[in-house]
Symmetry: C2
Subunit: 241 residues, 2 copies
């Protein structure tokens, strides 16, 4: 079906559900039939992405390619990956498939710009794999943003531990740990805090704030909005073309 979005998910399972919910919320719809057709590949057996990057392994890429190929043959016309860390393999994946793969970092930058933040320093809460690999930094720099990540101690004791708590279902502990990291970054001249790991917006939400005037930018939500824009653009072309 025209405009079918493929979701390469399962990293982790709850993040996929959160992303689907955000796609549904971002879609202008009055009835079931107005919603976007979705195909979802949520196979959580993909090896841990952050661990693979830190160990110099490309093992997750094989899984990502296989999942993308399955989505493609099932009829997906674009692919979204609700896992920031997996974007480390974005080029290797996007260059081997004949449909657009939406990039979560581009989507986050677009949402910052819509919120009136057109350049400057933003804080980054993400896995150590995402931070060390420069998934955000490289792409953000070209778009006019600097990224400030937590120092090693804060990254390990609050961000890594907070993400693990969310994955284990201890949302209260995860929220406390991650919020402390966000407040610390917000005090270091950041214009916004990018929630660059799909587990984080499960506990830190847009109606919260780490400091007066500083907001959270939910990368999962940004990707959902980019997916809806892609769908509306594609089906509009189909209707008029």
């Amino acid at each position: 079906m025209k405009g079918t979005l493929g979701i390469l998910g399962g990293m982790g399972p709850l993040a996929t559900v959160d992303f689907m919910q955000k796609v549904i919320q971002a879609t202008p719809a009055n009835r079931d039939q107005d919603h976007i057709p979705l195909l979802v590949h949520a196979v959580p057996q993909v090896p841990d992405r952050a661990e693979a990057i830190l160990a110099g392994s490309d093992e997750p890429l094989t899984w990502l390619r296989e999942g993308a190929a399955i989505l493609r043959s099932a009829g997906a016309e674009a692919i979204a990956i609700p896992c920031n860390t997996a974007h480390y393999w974005y080029d290797d994946l996007a260059n081997h498939i004949d449909v657009p793969v939406l990039h979560i970092v581009d989507a986050a930058a677009a949402q910052l710009k819509s919120a009136g933040i057109i350049n400057g320093t933003v804080g980054l809460l993400a896995t150590k794999g995402t931070v060390d690999a420069g998934v955000y930094q490289n792409r953000f720099e070209k778009l006019g943003f600097n990224c400030r990540a937590p120092d090693d101690a804060l990254q390990s004791e609050n961000v890594t531990a907070g993400i693990a708590a969310v994955k284990a279902g201890d949302l209260r502990k995860g929220r406390t740990l991650l919020e402390t990291a966000a407040i610390t970054l917000a005090q270091q001249d950041c214009l916004a805090i990018v929630l660059g790991c799909t587990e984080i917006p499960i506990v830190l939400t847009k109606d919260m704030s780490p400091a007066p005037g500083i907001g959270y930018l939910d990368a999962t939500d940004a990707l959902a909005r980019a997916a809806v824009d892609w769908h509306l653009e594609t089906t509009k072309t189909a209707k008029t073309g």
Copy 2:
């Protein structure tokens, strides 16, 4: 991958997300990789199921068959359909595919029995299509249960209108309308109230109660538990076989 569950969803989109969340919650897991591999076909353009039944049309069956075939070729080894009304076409679908299709009514009956309700009268909140087609009544009767559905006025003014409110995102209105219907049924000697439409457990939850000693039986949750049981059984056989 062994034990991959196919979800034939999109009816409606939020019900699919609710079902996935319930599968994740019902799975014994300590990390991403312990969760069930899922393939999801969520194409909400399937014509309205309840309207089709009332109009005598089998149009949704064509969509269901196509979705099931896509899930099958993508690698699904069993199929769950988080839409009660779509089970009207269960036999036509299950007889044309070579993997098990879990039945939501059997799953609901199994959960009633685990809750100690082994026979007797239960109330049914479902779409008019599900009620009129006897989706629950026929199967429940063989399993020892009688179904009591609301009378025509209550069905139309509270159940149909309540489901439509949930689909339109007005959860407060949906909850009020549906809870009134549940309370009325609970006063008519029902041992439990089966929430037999996937939109209903979005607003009426297991921690609520329509009358002292009377609980809600969430058919979506029952199907999720049946899916987890199927997965554990299948992968256990694979490991020992």
